[in-house]
Amino acid sequence: MYSLAIEIPYWGQSLLRVLGGLVAVLLPAGTIVYVFLFKMMSFMQSRLGPMEAGPYGSLQLIAEVGKWLQKEDIAPEKADVRIFKMAPIIVLLSTFLLVVVVPFGPDAYFTDFSVGIFYALAVGSVSVIGILVAGWASANKYSLLGGLRAAGQLIAYELPMVLAVVGVVIQAGSMNLQDIVVAQNTGQIFGWGGLGNPYVITQFVGFVIFMIAVQAELTQAPFDMPIAESELVSGYMTEYSGFRFLMFFIGEFATAGVFAFIASVLFLGGWGVPFGWFGWESLDQVSNWMNIGGPLIMFTKMMVLTFIIMWVRFSYPRFREDQLQRFAWKVLIPVSLANIVVTAILKVAF
């Protein structure tokens, strides 16, 4: 299992991990933007979307990056310039810190924290600081309002997300993401193990709450109050231009990809196939081929989940600010607490 660790020295391993991390952050972001934001949205609105750059507009993203690179970088004169320029980097940083915990195969992981999911939930909220700082440092009324709205929304939906994960931890009996994957793929539903036990079935309530909270954490419609363009121009991003704006944009979609990765690890069985199919009993017996197949399976599941996120985004109008807070505090949190209690009682009883 640790054959990789013996052959390659530590600096080489770290370099490989960082390169893998770059791919794991940028590839989903690019794919989501092209397939869903450019093409799917266009088709849902009866238009073709980008068609000029490359076949079916597939090189559109590269053209966009080339354009953004040439845009002037303007900071408002009253802004807190140093913090203003730092904010997009903080948002991007939180995405990179988040992808560290995602396992892509039996050996293909970046880190193997025993408290992996706890780390993910903690680091996932770092982006709030970047957004709040961006809104404050811009010295613009729209930005300030957008930043405050974002902070209020993100802390309100942080809780249902954390509490929805508890149900998974109870069922798997571990906070390690690798253990959670194994527990799902070796599990059984009422003694039948043909599909393993993907928690999307046995933790369906938790899955729905988690996906709603992810939608809100990513500030995608219907939860896009912080950047509501009809009221706040572009919220906390109003004063940003050029490449710093693009970094917020990359951060948003890369985080969507990473959260979809985490959701597929928690609820859809992660990189694994049900171990019973190939006669595997535990993690040690899993074929080495899963280090290649695992990332592909993860990518597929990521695409399915981001498809749902984007589908909802394109279909629903945005909430009002008070409806949004009411929904989090009066519906999602009580339901997720009830979910914890029911799951725990069932787990202890059986």
């Binding site: 770290s14 408002p76 811009s138 802390i155 942080e158 931890v169 109870i170 009996g173 505090w329 202890v348």
Partner: protein, 121 residues
């Protein structure tokens, strides 16, 4: 160095990679883009009219109650996780204690609800 610490060192490398990537791209952009700042361009954007007053205007923050409630429930989550990971070891005793704990905190939420604190003014 132990495997445990090495895992956290990887986190540091990823953080550095993110900052390096951002720096690289911004450096590239700085080499390519024009820079002709003038006063009109640097004015705060207020839908076309000249900005009125300060950007850091005072606004009523209605979130402080939510922030306080958030802290309570977040701390609750910290207590729930270790129990959730070892639920079978603690058995029925742990279950009863934890359900009592969750109900007590839920009681706090209900109290805030009844006081009308969860209502948007």
């Amino acid at each position: 160095m132990s495997l445990f610490l090495r895992d956290y060192l990887t986190v540091v490398w990823f953080g550095l990679a993110a900052v390096l990537l951002a720096g690289l791209l911004l450096g590239l952009a700085a080499a390519v883009r024009p820079s002709h700042p003038n006063r009109e361009k640097q004015m705060a954007y207020e839908s076309g009219v000249d900005p009125v007053g300060m950007g850091w205007s005072q606004s009523q923050i209605r979130y402080y109650v939510f922030a306080l409630l958030f802290v309570i429930f977040d701390v609750e989550a910290v207590f729930i996780f270790p129990w959730a990971a070892n639920i079978e070891r603690y058995g029925v005793f742990g279950l009863v204690v934890m359900v009592a704990f969750i109900v007590l905190l839920l009681d706090g939420l209900v109290y805030a609800w009844k006081r009308g604190l969860l209502r948007w003014v």
